[in-house]
């Protein structure tokens, strides 16, 4: 019985992470989902948010901006549109992006792409959350 999982996080422009982990929590479309070794095979869509994983007894965080994930018996492949480790996040930029998106959603100028603004807000929040967690 497998005691650990292999986690691969890949984005279109790089392989962010390829490591052994003990557990994982991801922002799935229908709510956060925890994964332990020997999970049933599953394919799920992901929302922008924070990914939390435990490896070597330490908690680590990533921010992702949506994507999807395949769970196999001893490995997890996470395909994100964009993903960052906590130390790569530009906090000020995320803060600014959050402000902009929130502003736009509040004012609702005509022709606003609400879905897009909401996604932008979620992405910014995910980044901020990740930097908060890993302080």
């Amino acid at each position: 019985m497998a005691k650990s999982l292999k986690l691969d996080v890949v984005t279109p422009d790089r392989t962010l992470l390829s490591t052994e982990i003990a557990s994982l929590i991801v922002p799935a479309v229908e709510g956060y989902l925890g994964v332990l070794p020997n999970h049933a095979p599953m394919i799920l869509g992901l929302l922008p948010g924070a990914v939390k994983y435990r490896s070597d007894g330490k908690l680590n965080f990533l921010s992702i901006s949506g994507g999807f994930m395949e769970i196999g018996p001893d490995r997890v492949t996470l395909l994100a549109d964009c993903a960052e480790k906590a130390n790569e996040i530009d906090r000020e930029r995320a803060q600014a992006a959050k402000g902009r998106a929130a502003q736009r959603l509040k004012e609702r100028p005509s022709g606003l792409d609400v879905q897009r603004a909401e996604l932008a807000l979620k992405r910014a929040l995910a980044r901020l959350q990740v930097t908060d967690y890993s302080k």
């Binding site: 691969d8 890949v10 984005t11 279109p12 422009d13 790089r14 392989t15 799935a28 479309v29 229908e30 989902l33 049933a40 095979p41 599953m42 394919i43 799920l44 869509g45 999807f68 395949e70 492949t77 395909l79 549109d81």
Partner: protein, 286 residues
């Protein structure tokens, strides 16, 4: 035999051409390095995506997604990826030829094109081929945004039935010295018909149809992005080796010219001496 001065002029002209080819070679090499990095970095994602998609398609029974519906083929579209500029050896010609061979094989359907890159567009325009849209000036390291614009056009013309099948033709990047023109079916998404083997043990969240909804657009986008990136890397590679051999040829040519320059110079000197000597002899004889 051309005069000394003519040869000298030739040498100078070949030399300045050589400087240009050398500079182009180095520029291409630098760009290649950047683009090559992008190609290699993009491969794992593309592979994983393909893997996951393959498994999903194999395990869902209903192929209902619009991107997967096969229609009777009345019209075929080709996305032809070429460079914006020439001087890259056979790079542009090869990929165009590959396309045209394929086009000639299709006899029972309309054919249309979406050229990406000036060379391909000019070729198609000269032959007055039917073009849906054109994309010029793709970045040296293509961005996802550029790919998205192309995909949007392709998807739209597929969904409104302008084309019933869409192919992507580009030069695949094998190594800096080798490129291979490839044709890939973009839409409808090709999949292998599978026997129902009960492999559908996957759980889905959300439902399979929705997962496909999320996944297929990404898949197509990635395929085009991958194609663009590979094509650019190939272009730089092709240009680098073409310019490399041009520089080498110029070297050879200069060598030959210098040789004949020296010969001409020596001949001129000999002639002059003969003239002086015979002049002196004539004076003496008087």
């Amino acid at each position: 035999m051309p005069g000394v001065r003519d040869i000298k002029r030739r040498i100078r002209s070949v030399k300045s051409t050589q400087q240009i080819t050398k500079a182009m070679e180095m520029v291409a090499a630098a760009k290649l390095r950047r683009t090559q990095g992008a190609v290699i970095a993009a491969r794992p994602y593309a592979e994983k995506l393909e893997e996951v998609l393959g498994r999903i398609v194999a395990s869902t029974q209903d192929k209902v997604h619009p991107f997967m519906v096969k229609r009777p083929v009345k019209s075929v579209g080709f996305i032809l990826v070429t460079g914006d500029r020439g001087l890259a050896g056979g790079y542009n010609a090869n990929v165009i030829r590959k396309t045209m061979v394929e086009v000639a094989r299709i006899t029972d359907a309309e054919k249309g094109f979406i050229p990406v890159g000036r060379k391909g567009r000019d070729y198609l325009r000269r032959r007055q081929r039917n073009m849906t849209a054109e994309f010029i000036g793709i970045n040296d390291v293509p961005t996802v945004l550029e790919a998205k614009e192309i995909v949007d056009v392709a998807v739209k013309s597929y969904l409104d039935e302008t084309y019933d099948e869409i192919y992507l033709v580009y030069q695949e990047f094998v190594s800096a010295l080798t490129q291979r023109p490839v044709i890939k079916q973009l839409l409808p998404i090709p999949y292998e018909e599978q026997e129902e083997t009960g492999t559908s043990e996957y759980l889905y969240e959300p439902a399979p149809a929705q997962v496909l909804d999320m996944l297929l657009p990404k898949y197509i986008l990635n395929k085009v992005f991958q194609g663009l990136t590979e094509a650019k890397a190939s272009e730089h590679g092709a240009r680098m080796s073409a310019m490399g051999s041009a520089t080498k040829n110029a070297d050879e040519m200069i060598g030959k010219l210098v040789l004949s320059f020296n010969r001409a110079r020596q001949a001129a000197i000999t002639r002059e001496i003969t003239e002086i000597v015979s002049g002196a002899d004539a004076l003496k004889a008087q």
